[in-house]
Symmetry: C2
Subunit: 455 residues, 2 copies
C-alpha cells in the first residue's frame, strides 16, 4: 500500500492528473478510501474530483466521517448533489446521522426529493433496529407477472437497486407474499408465472427488530438479503448481507469491550479522542475500585490471624487470581454462548451441572499441583520455614473450594443478567474478579481457622 | 418452537406422516434441524425420510455431527447416496472431516465419482485456509461469449451451483481474467460480448490464504463471493459469503476465548464434554498459578514492612485489581483493534502516546477518588486509626503509578506479540493481571518505603 500512496502523491505533485485517474480506476472503492486516509487532507478534494461519478460514491461511503465532512465542505452544491444522488438510501441516511447540523441541511437541500423522503423515513427508526440498517431500494414483483415480464422489469428498474439477487412479490396492498431469486427466474421458462415459482414461506423481520437478531437470522439461514416488514406485514425494505456482516462485527466488538469493563464506542481506536477513551473506561474502574472495600474489610477483620501465621499472606494474590481466572473462564464461555444462541437461560440447570463437574476436575488438578508447588518452590527453594505442611494444605484446599465457587458464580451471573434483561457481557472478568476476591478470602480464612487454630 | 416440536412428535406418534410432511415442507432447513435436535433420536430417521430430497440435504447440513452420524448409520447405501449427491462439495468435505473413519469410507464409496474427486481435493488444503472453506462449484464463462450465450450457459449448468450471482471469466489455460455479476448480465444487451462488460480488476485470494483474512476481505469489499486461485492464478473455487460470516463469528469466539485464558474449542458449549472443557481451561490456569510465585516472593521480602504498617495490607487487593482492570482495558482494546485492522504494529508509537495520556487522566481521577475513599470509608467509617493521611497518600500514589504502568504494558504486549507472530489475544486480561500484580506490589512498597520510613 505504501508505494501506491507515494505514487499518487507524486503524480498529483507533478500535476499528472490523467495518469492519477488511470491509476485510481484500476482500484476498488474500499482500497481507494484507505489510500486517501494516508494522504494529506489538502490533496483529497482534487483527487476525489478525478474519480468517475459511481466510483466516487463508492469511495465516499468507505471514508471516515471526518474526511467526508472535509470533502462536503469543499464541494459546490452541484458536486454535493452528484455524490449524494449516487448513494444508496441507507448509506445516505448513515451519512446524515454522522454529519453536523449545518452539513446535514446542505445534504438534504441538494438531495433528490425522493431520496430526501427516504432518508427522513430511515432516520425515524430507532438506533440498532432492522429499520435503521435496511435499504428501501429493492425489486418488487407482482404474483401474476410472467418470468419474462419480471426479467424485463428488473432490466428497466433494477439498475439503481442495491441488490437484485432477490426479488419480493407483493399483493395490491403491498403485503409481502413471496420471494424469488434471480437464479430461479433465470432458470425458469419465460412464460411461467412468478406466482408458481415464488417461495411462499418468506422469512422476514419487523422494522423494530433488534439489528443483532436480524443479522443472526441472516447468518443462520445463509441469506444474502432479508425483507423488512411493518406491523401490517407490508414490505418496507431489505437488509443486505454486507450490512449484516458489519453488525455481527460491531456486536462482537461491543461484547468484547463490555467484558473488559469498557463502555462500547463505535469509532476505531486511533480516531477516538483521549478524553472519550477515558470516559469509556473510568466508570467501571471507579465502581470496581470502590467495591474493593469489601476485601479490605475482610482482610482487616483477619489481621490478627495473618499476624499469627504470616505465611498465609504470601498466597493471597495467587488464590485471588486463580479464582478470578477460573470464574472468568466460565463467565466468558457462557456470555459468548448466550450471544451465539448456543445456550438459553432455560439451560441454566445443565450449565450449572456441567460447570460443577469441570470445577471439580480443575479444583482437584490445580489443588494437587498447588500443594506440590507450595512445598517445593515456596518451602524448599525459597527456604521459608513458615510454609509448613498444614499451611500448604490450607492453601490447596482453599484453591479447590475457590475454583468451585468461582465457576458457579461465573456461569450463573450472566444467565441471571440475561433473565433480568441486562447485558450478560457486563458480568465478565472484572465483575467476577471482584466478587471472587472477597469469596476467596472468606474461604481462605475459614479453612485456615479450622485447620491451623489461629488466634 | 416448543409447540412445533410437540406437534411433530404427536403427528409421528399417531402415524400421520402425510401431515407431518406437509408441516415440515413449510419450514426452512435450519429451523427443521433445530426442531430435530429437540426430538428423541429414534424418530429422526423416519422424519428425515419424509423430507423431499433437496430439503433433506439442506436439513442434513444444518445438523450436528452426532446426529448426522446417527442418521448415516441408519441409511441404506441408496439413501446415503441420495443425500450426499445433493450436498455442495464444500459441505460434503466438511462432513467427511467430522465423521469417523468407517462412516467416511461409506460416504466416499457411495458418492458420485466427480464429487468424490472434489472432496478429496478440498481435504488437501490446510485447515483454516481459503482452500478449505471454498466450494468448487461456480459458473465460469469465456470472454468471447455473448451475454445471450452466457445466460443460456447459466441456465444449462447453473442449477447445481451454490451461487450463480457472480460468474467468472477464464482464458484457455483456466487463468482468472474477469468477473461479471448476473446483475450486469441481465442489464446488458443480449448480443454484447462478455469481455466488454466484465470487470477486469478481479480481487482474488490464493488457496493458502488464511480464512480470517479471506473473510475480512469479503467484509471490506462487500462481496457475496470471492474467487480463489492457485499459484499460477488459475481459478479453483469461490468462497461464498455465508461461509465468510461463519468464519468471522468463529474467529471472534476464538479471540474471546483466548482473552479469557481458554484454549479455543470449535464445538457449542452444551455439546462439549466436561473433560474437554477441563483440558481447554487447565493449561493457562496452571501457568498463571505457578507464575504467581513472583508475587509471593515480593510479599515475602516485604513482610517486615507490612508488619510495621499493617494498614498497607488492606489495600493490596484493591491496588492489584484496579491495576489489572486498567491493563486489560488497554490490552483488550488493542487486541480487538489489531484483529479488525484498525491498528497496525507500525502504529505502536501513537498507541503508546495515546494510552499514556489516557493513563494519566485515569490515574489522576482514580487517585483522587481513591484518596477520598480511603480517608472517608476506611478511616472514618471503619474507624481504623492505622489508616493515616500518609498511608492514604501512599495508596493513591501507587494507584496512579500502577495505572500508568498497567496501561503501557497492556497496550504494548499485544503489539509485540503480533510482531513476533504470536496471537495477540493471549496477552489479554489474565496474562496482564499476573504481570501487573507483581508490578503494583513493587511500586507499592517502593513508594511506602520512601514516604513512611518503614523498617
Amino acid at each position: 500500500m505504501a508505494s501506491l500512496e507515494s505514487a499518487l502523491a507524486a503524480l498529483m505533485e507533478e500535476k499528472k492528473y490523467a495518469s492519477a485517474r488511470d491509476l485510481l480506476i484500476t482500484m476498488n472503492g474500499a482500497d481507494i478510501a484507505a489510500v486517501f486516509t494516508e494522504l494529506p487532507d489538502e490533496t483529497l478534494p482534487l483527487l476525489f474530483r478525478l474519480l468517475p461519478k459511481e466510483l466516487a460514491a463508492e469511495v465516499f461511503v468507505e471514508m471516515e466521517p471526518e474526511e467526508q465532512e472535509l470533502l462536503i465542505r469543499g464541494f459546490s452544491d452541484n458536486e454535493l448533489k452528484e455524490v449524494v444522488d449516487e448513494l444508496y438510501a441507507d448509506d445516505a441516511a448513515d451519512l446524515v446521522e454522522e454529519m453536523p447540523a449545518n452539513v446535514v441541511k446542505r445534504i438534504l437541500k441538494t438531495a433528490d426529493p425522493d431520496l430526501r423522503k427516504t432518508i427522513n423515513e430511515l432516520l425515524k427508526y430507532p438506533e440498532d433496529s432492522a429499520g435503521s440498517i435496511m435499504t428501501t431500494e429493492m425489486v418488487t414483483l407482482r404474483p401474476l407477472m410472467t418470468v419474462g415480464e419480471a426479467i424485463k422489469r428488473i432490466r428497466r428498474t433494477g439498475i439503481d437497486k442495491e441488490t437484485v439477487y432477490n426479488c419480493y412479490i407483493t399483493d395490491d396492498a403491498r403485503h409481502l407474499i413471496g420471494t424469488v431469486s434471480i437464479r430461479s427466474l433465470i432458470l425458469a421458462e419465460d412464460d411461467e408465472l412468478v406466482r408458481n415459482i415464488m417461495e411462499e414461506n418468506v422469512i422476514s423481520v419487523n422494522t423494530l427488530e433488534d439489528q443483532e437478531t436480524t443479522a443472526e437470522m441472516m447468518a443462520k439461514y445463509d441469506f444474502t438479503a432479508l425483507p423488512v416488514v411493518d406491523k401490517e406485514r407490508r414490505l418496507v425494505g431489505i437488509v443486505t448481507v454486507d450490512d449484516a456482516i458489519d453488525v455481527i462485527k460491531e456486536e462482537a466488538t461491543e461484547d468484547i469491550e463490555r467484558m473488559a469493563a469498557i463502555l462500547p464506542s463505535d469509532k476505531p481506536y486511533l480516531r477516538t479522542g483521549v478524553f472519550s477513551i477515558w470516559s469509556n473506561r473510568i466508570p467501571w474502574l471507579l465502581l470496581l475500585m470502590v467495591s474493593a472495600t469489601f476485601t479490605s474489610m475482610i482482610l482487616s477483620s483477619f489481621e490478627n490471624a495473618l499476624a499469627a501465621q504470616s505465611a498465609l499472606l504470601l498466597f493471597i494474590p495467587m488464590l485471588m487470581d486463580t479464582g478470578g481466572n477460573s470464574g472468568s473462564q466460565a463467565s466468558v464461555t457462557i456470555i459468548r454462548s448466550l450471544s451465539l444462541g448456543d445456550v438459553e437461560p432455560a439451560d441454566i440447570g445443565s450449565v450449572i451441572w456441567k460447570e460443577m463437574r469441570v470445577a471439580l476436575l480443575c479444583g482437584l488438578s490445580l489443588g494437587l499441583v498447588c500443594f506440590g508447588k507450595v512445598m517445593l518452590i515456596d518451602r524448599l527453594l525459597m527456604h521459608n520455614p513458615e510454609v509448613t505442611v498444614p499451611v500448604a494444605l490450607v492453601v490447596c484446599l482453599t484453591m479447590a473450594a475457590t475454583i468451585l465457587c468461582a465457576k458457579l458464580v461465573g456461569c450463573t451471573l450472566p444467565i441471571i443478567a440475561k433473565l433480568v434483561r441486562l447485558d450478560p457481557a457486563v458480568c465478565a472478568s472484572p465483575f467476577i474478579t471482584t466478587i471472587v476476591d472477597a469469596l476467596s478470602l472468606l474461604i481462605y480464612f475459614a479453612i485456615a481457622s479450622s485447620l491451623l487454630r489461629l488466634v
